[in-house]
């Protein structure tokens, strides 16, 4: 069993049509104690949030005895692209991630998700790659100074021509070459790229900092709504000694209307798994 919800980390993106407090209460109702915090509207405005608001947010989380395993600032849907050739966009994107790091530090969150951004499909990958490496490198330095680790998540191929599978992810890790930068595994994105957690563990081992354990491959689905082998994935993670949390990054238009049911269903599926070694995340 996954012990008392210690390792299951619901994520607030599922509750984007509800207030953040509503989400936090739902987490408590489901006997979970860890969350993955999505930085997006209307819950958290990374660009605008003030220190006072961050302090208030910290209280709202801690007063419910919750802890945050990972901050995931929205980048895919927002005008954020660290590999952009447009100077204003790349500057905005770097400032956005730097601010997100400050927010993570103030909230005491040990880990933040990052992505590579993307170049255009009809232009040289090398140049966009270089721009991504430059900015990621600076983010890594700042993270190191703040004592925060980073988890690089591959995007889907239709979103990016840079880091979109385990091979390109390995290349980026080699180019940045810092122990601060690890791997985030999203089981649905991996499956859509024809890969499984096993591929990731084989290649990256303990550099995997965070797992989003979700059904797919067509979307970020609640368990049972897709076709992925959840039990096998859970077992593979444990076999490899993964002690981190399992983020529930569930988003689908249909889920937003009734998130309570979707969350309960997914947590139920995870709890029915015989996953051992429940790390005290």
């Amino acid at each position: 069993m996954i012990e008392s919800g210690m390792r299951i980390a619901p994520m607030n993106v599922l509750y984007k049509f509800f207030s953040l407090d509503y989400f936090l209460d739902a987490v408590v109702r489901n006997h979970c104690r860890t969350i993955e915090l999505w930085g997006g509207a209307p819950h958290i405005d990374i660009e605008e949030i003030t220190s006072e608001e961050v302090r208030h947010l910290k209280k709202r989380i801690s007063s419910r005895s919750l802890q945050v395993c990972c901050l995931t600032p929205e980048t895919g849907l927002y005008p954020v692209n660290i590999a952009s050739e447009d100077k204003l966009t790349s500057k905005r994107s770097e400032a956005y991630l730097m601010k997100a790091l400050e927010v993570a530090a103030e909230l005491g969150i040990p880990l933040m998700q990052v992505t590579s951004g993307s170049g255009y499909d009809n232009e040289s990958v090398d140049e966009a790659w270089g721009r991504s490496v430059d900015i990621l490198g600076r983010i890594v330095l700042r993270a190191e100074a703040l004592g925060i680790e980073l988890a690089l998540e591959p995007l889907s191929r239709h979103e990016s021509n840079l880091v979109y599978n385990s091979a390109t992810l390995g290349r980026m890790l080699a180019d940045i070459d810092s122990p601060v930068l690890g791997v985030q595994l999203d089981t649905s994105v991996a499956a859509a790229a024809g890969e499984s957690p096993w591929d990731y563990f084989r290649l990256f081992g303990t550099r995997i900092k965070h797992i989003q354990l979700i059904d797919g491959p067509d979307g970020h689905l609640a368990w049972g709504d897709g076709s992925l082998p959840l039990a096998q994935y859970g077992a593979e993670a444990c076999e490899h000694g993964y002690t981190g949390s399992f983020g529930l990054e569930l988003f689908d238009h249909k889920y937003y209307v009734e998130p309570d049911q979707v969350l309960a269903r997914s947590i139920g599926a995870l709890r029915s798994l015989d996953v051992k070694g429940g790390g005290q995340a």
Partner: protein
């Protein structure tokens, strides 16, 4: 086919100029400009880049028939309970009006936003109408019409049906804030083009002419879904004078965007 316009949404893996060239190759003159990174994000758009974009459009003999800043994926919501988010959204659309005017677009697309799903619908509706009144006054100064579409219940709790849209149009009560039709949420709500034409008549200023899966999925290429597109096509060509935009939102249309639009155009020609 002069009334068919094409949106750059599914060209987001390519530069804006590639999209504009593609329109020339496809003999399309009217474009609906989706304004988002990486093509043009109104918050990061210096005057020099805007002037350049204008030149790129004009020099290719193209015209912008509707300006559509990203507002579903981005943190934009004119009905938001959070005042900062709401104010920022209003200012985003004011900037968008400036850009639309510079690009000589007669229309600006604004979705009514959404309230929280656990608060009374009326409160979000009231905030949306207030924001739209402000934007309507601003639009009037430019002579630009704001067009509003419905969304399915998976995207908003405010304006899902044409009755909701009628109520909002009446509430805002501005000659510069008008209804438009998107065939996807229309179908999802069990409505049809006939009813929309009957309800809104000449006030219907714009149409997103899309196919769909009928299950609440996103906007698809004509002929890829289950909608009676031939029937919609004939009806709209007979009784509606504005543009019909091909808006391809599903991600499988991103990698070979020109091929996908070509496919739609071929299918529309076959319907003639």
């Amino acid at each position: 086919m002069k009334n068919v316009s094409v949106m750059n949404y599914n060209y987001q893996r390519y530069p804006l100029e590639y999209f504009l060239d593609s329109m020339n190759r496809l003999n399309v003159e009217a474009i609906e400009l989706w304004a988002a990174e990486p093509h043009l994000y109104v918050e990061d758009l210096p005057a020099s880049r805007l002037a350049q974009i204008r030149r790129e459009i004009v020099s290719r003999g193209l015209k912008v028939i509707c300006f559509t800043p990203e507002q579903c994926a981005y943190p934009v919501n004119i009905a938001a309970r959070d005042e900062r988010l709401r104010n920022r959204s209003i200012s985003y659309f004011k900037k968008s009006l400036e850009v639309a005017a510079e690009l000589e677009s007669p229309l600006l697309l604004v979705v009514p936003g959404s309230g929280f799903y656990n608060e009374p619908k009326e409160e979000g509706f009231k905030r949306s109408a207030e924001s739209l009144r402000i934007l309507g006054e601003e639009a009037e100064k430019y002579g630009i019409h704001i067009v509003m579409e419905t969304r399915s219940k998976y995207g908003t709790n405010l304006v899902n049906t044409r009755a909701d849209l009628r109520k909002l149009v009446d509430e805002v009560n501005s000659p510069f804030v008008d209804p438009m039709l998107d065939t996807v949420p229309m179908f999802t709500e069990g409505e049809d083009v006939r009813a929309w034409l009957d309800d809104f008549g000449d006030r219907l200023r714009h149409v997103h002419f899309c196919d769909g899966d009928g299950k609440g999925g996103s906007n698809m290429a004509v002929g890829d879904g289950v909608f009676p597109m031939q029937q919609y096509w004939e009806l709209l060509n007979r009784e509606y004078n504005g543009y019909l935009t091909l808006e391809l939102v599903v991600n499988r249309y991103y990698l070979e965007p020109e091929q996908e639009v070509q496919k739609c155009l071929d299918r529309l020609r076959a319907m003639q």
